[in-house]
């Protein structure tokens, strides 16, 4: 999965980016790198600007200042779909399935190419890919079978189910399946553990580790650093749109500035 010509092993460079909304400086001269193959934790209290960073990377917002480079290509100001097709996929903090489409169609949507006349994948290839992805992230586990089976002729046992039938944890998995369908090199996960039980958090962590082994670099956002510490390789702590600290989980846990930001409000 390694790409040629990546400087310093950085797959994504977030370089001096600022963004304000009205009077609010949401992101203030923020710089950090994401290294090829790592899981980077992006933590910070709620409202620190983590989701804004994702929106800046994925092109939903455009930075007022600064540059964003992905695999040595500058992607600042690109439209969201172009960023996705360059190899960056994201999940949303609150799952956003396409409510009127079945689960398998939800995943299939992410396989649609933009060249209107090109063929892309054949129908069989598409449905196979969808089934594999559904099985991999076990979206359809709740329907009583393990994973998602191709029953026959491309029929899969969750092909008649709509997202409204899924419990919360499965919706999170569906988000990941949709993101994976775009074949990303970099995956942005916005609070993937929110609302999950302890055991579901473990399942999710295992899934993210597997994807890391397949070479998918990840940025995981969470407001709660404790949940993330065992998963991530490195942590960037954000507070009020600025970088508060950066380092390995062990370093961050000992960092007094981080302790201050997280605990002072309640300990004084």
């Amino acid at each position: 999965m390694s790409k040629a010509g990546v400087i310093n092993g950085a797959i994504l460079q977030f370089d001096g980016v600022s963004k304000s909304f009205g009077g609010l400086q949401a992101i203030n001269h923020l710089s950090f790198d994401v290294r090829e193959g790592e899981i980077l934790g992006l933590i910070g209290p709620n409202g620190a600007g983590k989701t804004t960073i994702f929106n800046l990377i994925t092109g939903v917002y455009h930075p007022d200042q600064g540059k964003i480079r992905f695999q040595n290509t500058e992607i600042t100001g690109w439209q969201p779909h172009r960023v996705v097709n360059a190899g960056i996929a994201r999940t949303f903090q609150i799952p956003r399935p396409f409510h009127h489409k079945t689960i398998t169609k939800n995943v299939e949507i992410a396989l649609i190419p933009n060249a209107i006349l090109s063929h892309g994948l054949s129908k069989q290839e598409r449905s196979d890919t969808v089934s594999q992805l559904c099985a991999k992230v076990s979206v359809c586990k709740i329907f009583g079978t393990e994973g998602c089976h191709l029953i026959e002729d491309g029929f899969c046992d969750c092909m008649f189910e709509f997202p409204s039938a899924l419990p919360h944890a499965a919706l999170r998995n569906l988000e990941i399946a949709k993101a994976m369908a775009t074949k990303p090199n970099l995956l942005l996960l916005d609070e993937p553990f929110a609302g999950l039980t302890m055991s579901e958090v473990d399942d999710m962590s295992a899934l993210l580790r597997t994807m890391k082994q397949e070479g998918r670099t990840q940025i995981v956002v969470d407001h709660n650093m404790r949940g993330l510490m065992r998963l991530v390789d490195r942590v960037v702590v954000i507070n009020f749109g600025q970088k508060l600290a950066e380092g390995t989980p062990e370093e961050i846990a000992k960092n007094p500035a981080v302790q201050e930001a997280y605990l002072s409000g309640s300990s004084n």
Binding site: H81, R82, F92, F98, H100, I109, I151, F160, K178
Partner: protein, 341 residues
């Protein structure tokens, strides 16, 4: 054996569609010489095309258009003017009308891309009102009065000069309209089931999430506008050759946009075939129940409102969903382990 119900259902719906189609093919034979009835069926086919076109843009892609008369009128005027002044056969000018309307779609889509919801709907409405005014101001028609194109008698030769009909034979006109409608329906059914249709629906459900799934929403929206414009333009062009005249009141009236919406609501938005049923229902009531006067339209609109209130998905979509639940209730007995590999 597994999903037997799904297959049964496919066969049953195919049979229903074929029987309806068979009936439509036999209409001229069943009602020989009843030119009023055959005319009515021609209108029903034209409105079906219009309603399907609205459904593609609004039902599938979620871009609610209040101005489909814009496309309808462009198609009508283009085809009428070309065939009358250049003497081209309607068989060439009708597609050209569609092409012009499609370009009109591109024109509307350009500002519409930045707009959502009511803003977008207003732009479509304004374009329809605007072209109506423009044609009146430019006196685009042959007679000049209010931009109308009417029959003119050439004083030198005494020949009556009109918008040419598609054919002098009403039955041929009927088959032309029916054939066109069926071809378009087939085309659209394939289109909405393709990945393009899937992209349309994704944009309708959640545009931001669609972009996050890598879909170029702008491109697909332009495509939807252009295809929808093309089809509505074809409908308008066929209409103008059927009526052999054109005026803003005939082909650009807001009523036409409203009727397209009503037909789609009656049959069910986002189903393609539903709007065809809705258009037939609407036109047959409008034409055949004339003795009831205005009551018939009042009743149709009330029915449409009741459908919105109680079956907001639309009749066909509701049936489809119920059937889907029915299929689902038949669980596969023994999931074949590892069949995926």
């Amino acid at each position: 054996m597994i999903l037997k119900r799904a297959r049964t259902l496919t066969w049953v719906s195919a049979a229903i569609i074929l029987i309806s189609l068979g009936f439509l093919i036999l209409v001229p034979q069943l009602f020989v010489g009843n030119s009023f009835l055959i005319s009515t069926f021609v209108f029903a086919n034209i409105y079906s095309i219009l309603a399907m076109s609205w459904d593609l843009l609004s039902g599938y892609t979620g871009q609610i258009s209040f101005g489909h008369s814009f496309f309808f009128g462009i198609g009508a005027y283009t085809s009428a003017l070309l065939s009358m002044h250049l003497g081209w056969s309607p068989l060439y000018t009708i597609p050209l009308g569609g092409v012009m309307a499609s370009l009109g779609g591109l024109l509307v889509a350009t500002p519409a891309l930045r707009l959502r919801g009511p803003y977008l709907s207003l732009i479509t409405l304004v374009s329809a009102l605007g072209i109506d005014q423009l044609i009146r101001v430019l006196k685009l028609g042959s007679t000049g009065a209010e931009g109308a194109i009417q029959c003119e008698i050439d004083l030198a030769t005494g020949v009556n000069h009109c918008v040419p009909p598609i054919s002098a034979n009403e039955v041929e006109v009927y088959y032309f309209a029916l054939g066109l409608m069926v071809c378009i329906a087939i085309f659209l059914i394939f289109l909405v089931r393709s990945r393009i249709g899937l992209a349309f629906e994704a944009i309708r459900d959640d545009e931001e999430a669609a972009e996050a799934a890598g879909i170029d929403a702008k491109k697909y929206k332009i495509l939807a506008f252009m295809i929808s414009g093309f089809l509505a333009g074809l409908a308008g062009a066929v209409m103008v050759h059927k009526m052999q005249q054109a005026s803003p009141g005939l082909v650009l009236d807001l009523n036409i946009s409203i009727e397209a919406i009503v037909a789609s609501v009656l049959g069910g938005m986002g189903t393609i075939l539903g709007p065809v049923g809705g258009a037939y229902f609407y036109i047959l009531i409008r034409e055949l129940l004339r003795p009831f006067g205005q009551w018939r339209l009042f009743a149709v609109f009330v029915i449409a409102l009741l459908i919105l209130l109680f079956i907001p998905r639309g009749v066909l979509a509701e049936i489809r969903l119920r059937l889907m639940h029915w299929i689902k209730s038949e669980k596969p007995k023994e999931p074949q382990q590892g069949a995926r590999a």
